[in-house]
């Protein structure tokens, strides 16, 4: 699918660009962090180091929603903090309920990458056919499909996403973790958490960018000579769309998809900061939790933000490299 000319252009740009190399190294590190989180982590991401009278961890491990601890004080229930400073036991300290920040940042990488990659995948699968059909057929079909897309564009991604999740709730799915199942990481959670609703919602609010780019490509490709030739020998519209229009519009779609992974990771972190993600194992959620403890424990909010920043920088660097190699003119909300 990738032509030799393209491959050599990618290689040439990569060799000449320090930034492209940096982006690739960072991206590989973050993917490894996410995949091997249970092995690299020093603590169970839910473990608070606190125990109830029966010796069980308190509060119960997992994705509980009230992540503040309360104790009977002089004036009724008071919020208490079990924060521990960064040390040899806790590399990056603990959060307000005593959970290890280093381990939680590792597991948080999974949430960001899962939502970013699967969300972008779904958005591509919906948006590209939609845009290709709209641009290829033109006329009334194009008009009505594009008006529907305009309705989506009338709402900022974040606003529509918040409304959808606020209404339908944030469901999560548990995926068995092969590394833990195979016994390589004793005492780690057996399941990885996929915030399913959030993944669907970010795809739903971002597919329209793929539709716009695909439509623009289809409009310019449909008048090319080879498409006319194919039509003249009796090729069906479906054949022309899948065999000619789609392959020739892939370049800008790939670049857009790269940038959209970064945009969706940012969107997911915003949603979880606002408490709409359904899992507490998320960088954005960790930042929200740390905001109340800035004066006493700066690391809770600071560290996960650096993780988001590095993840998004690395993807943007890869996107720049692809764009410089392939040079299409595209944009989209959240990434230019």
């Amino acid at each position: 699918m990738i032509s030799d000319r393209l491959r050599s252009s990618l290689k040439r740009e990569f060799r000449g660009s320090l930034l492209a190399k940096l982006g690739l190294v960072l991206a590989v590190i973050i993917v490894l962090m996410a995949v091997f989180a249970p092995v690299l982590a020093t603590h169970h991401p839910g473990a608070t180091g606190q125990f109830d009278e029966n010796g069980n961890s308190y509060p119960p491990w997992g994705v509980s929603h009230d992540t503040h601890m309360w104790e009977e004080g002089e004036e009724g229930m008071e919020r208490v903090s079990y924060t521990i400073e960064p040390s040899a036991e806790h590399y990056l300290g603990t959060n307000n309920i005593g959970q290890d920040v280093y381990s939680r940042v590792l597991f948080g990488a999974r949430t960001s990458l899962l939502v970013g990659l699967i969300g972008t995948g779904i958005a591509t699968l919906v948006g590209v056919p939609y845009g290709l059909i709209s641009g290829y057929y033109g006329g009334r079909i194009d008009d009505s499909l594009m008006r529907a897309a305009d309705v989506m564009l009338a709402f900022p991604s974040l606003v529509l996403a918040i409304a959808l999740i606020g209404v339908f709730g944030a469901g999560t799915q548990l995926i068995p973790d092969p590394i833990v199942m195979a016994g390589f990481a004793e005492g780690m959670p057996e399941n990885a958490v996929l915030p399913g609703t959030v993944t669907l919602v970010v795809a739903l609010v971002n597919w329209v960018w793929f539709a716009r780019v695909a439509r623009g490509e289809a409009i310019s490709i449909r008048s090319e000579e080879y498409v006319k030739a194919a039509r003249s020998i009796g090729a069906s519209n479906t054949t022309i769309l899948t065999k000619h229009v789609l392959p020739n519009s892939l370049t800008p779609i790939i670049v857009l998809a790269t940038i959209q992974v970064a945009a969706i990771i940012l969107l997911e972190s915003s949603l979880s900061y606002l408490g709409f993600s359904g899992t507490t194992l998320s960088w954005g959620y960790e930042i929200q939790q740390g905001q109340d403890y800035l004066a006493t424990a700066w690391w809770i909010a600071t560290i996960p933000g650096i993780a988001i920043l590095l993840a998004v920088v690395s993807i943007n660097l890869l996107g720049d490299w692809l764009r410089d190699s392939l040079d299409p003119n595209i944009g989209g909300e959240g990434g230019v």
Partner: protein, 329 residues
């Protein structure tokens, strides 16, 4: 004449999209699980009163009747009453608009004031330290989550050094300006500036980075064109060439992209307002969703959606007016 036709077509399209926006907001409520009556009264309320509320809200009608009544109410400007505060939704929306506008404008001003000179310097001194610095800044700027940047600003400038307050908006800009105009006391105005500085930086950094990038690449493209050589040959001062001729031609793509990024600005304002407890429309939206206050959610969504559509029509029309070739397409 062609422009009149263009405007008519664009307005018709806009009307269809606004109808779509309104339908989406209706659909969201209709699809949401849960009984709205529980959001208005205590679950222990007697069945008779609950039934009365259902009747008053029209919830016993078939869905298409509810939809038609919803459209009819909106057409006469009736947005309903908030479940929580029982106040008129239109008033609840309107009273929050100035705060959000102040924030969006302040962020845009921060972005333009920093980004344009930075982009020009970066584009005219390629591969010099200033260019590397600007490029690095814009890369980090477009990759930083604005809510985290806001929290870091609070951590350093508010909590550690106490230079700026951590948030809130004790005085409105128009009130501060009025005080200044009538009494010449700048105290309120300074308070306003102190409070909006951190939120404006948090929201504006992404756009600063974006405009720096666009200005730089635009300058690089334009500087290679023959007219630049011609003006240089005429002996015009370099500053004049850069800022008057080259920058002007660079502005067209910048304005176009900024129009497309309006959604990011509004979305960013929602979350920035949350970080800084800035009492704008975004903060109200978040709180209304936490409370599932449907009439208020719908009112804010319609306001944002319709505002977006109208601004786009104005931008497109300006663009077509200045650049008649657009109409041909």
């Amino acid at each position: 004449m062609a422009f009149g036709k263009f405007l008519t077509k664009r307005l018709l399209q806009g009307a269809i999209v606004i109808w779509g926006v309104v339908t989406v907001t209706f659909g969201l409520r209709a699809a949401s699980p849960g009984d709205p009556v529980n959001l208005i009264v205590d679950p222990a309320t007697s069945p008779e009163i609950r039934e009365q509320i259902r009747e008053d809200l029209g919830l016993n009608e078939p869905i298409y009747v509810q939809y038609i009544e919803y459209l009819r109410d909106l057409l006469v400007g009736d947005f309903g009453y908030s479940y929580q505060s029982s106040r008129d939704v239109a008033a609840l929306v309107i009273e929050r608009i100035p705060a959000t506008l102040e924030l969006a404008l302040a962020a845009t001003v921060v972005a333009i004031v920093i980004a344009i000179p930075l982009g020009v310097i970066s584009g005219t001194r390629r591969n010099e330290p200033a260019d590397y610095g600007a490029t690095l800044f814009s890369l980090v700027g477009i990759s930083t989550p604005n809510f985290w940047l806001g929290i870091m600003l609070i951590l350093v400038l508010a909590v550690q050094f106490g230079i700026f307050p951590t948030g809130q908006r004790p005085v409105a800009l128009h009130d501060a300006l009025w005080t200044f105009a009538t009494t010449l006391h700048a105290g309120e105005l300074l308070t306003w500036v102190r409070h909006i500085t951190l939120p404006a930086i948090a929201l504006g950094t992404y756009f600063t980075a974006l405009i720096t990038r666009l200005t730089r690449s635009g300058m690089v493209d334009e500087l290679g064109k023959p007219y630049v050589t011609a003006t240089e040959a005429k002996g015009l001062p370099e500053v004049l060439i850069r800022y008057k001729h080259v920058l002007r031609n660079t502005m067209i793509p910048i304005v176009t992209v900024l129009g497309l990024q309006l959604g990011t600005l509004i979305g960013g304002a929602v979350i920035t307002e949350t970080v800084f407890a800035w009492p704008g429309l975004g903060l109200r939206l978040i709180n209304s969703i936490y409370a599932l206050d449907w009439p208020l959610i719908q009112g804010i969504l319609i306001f944002i959606g319709v505002g977006f559509v109208l601004i786009n029509i104005v931008v497109d029309s300006l663009y077509a007016y200045l650049n008649p070739r657009v109409i041909e397409e």
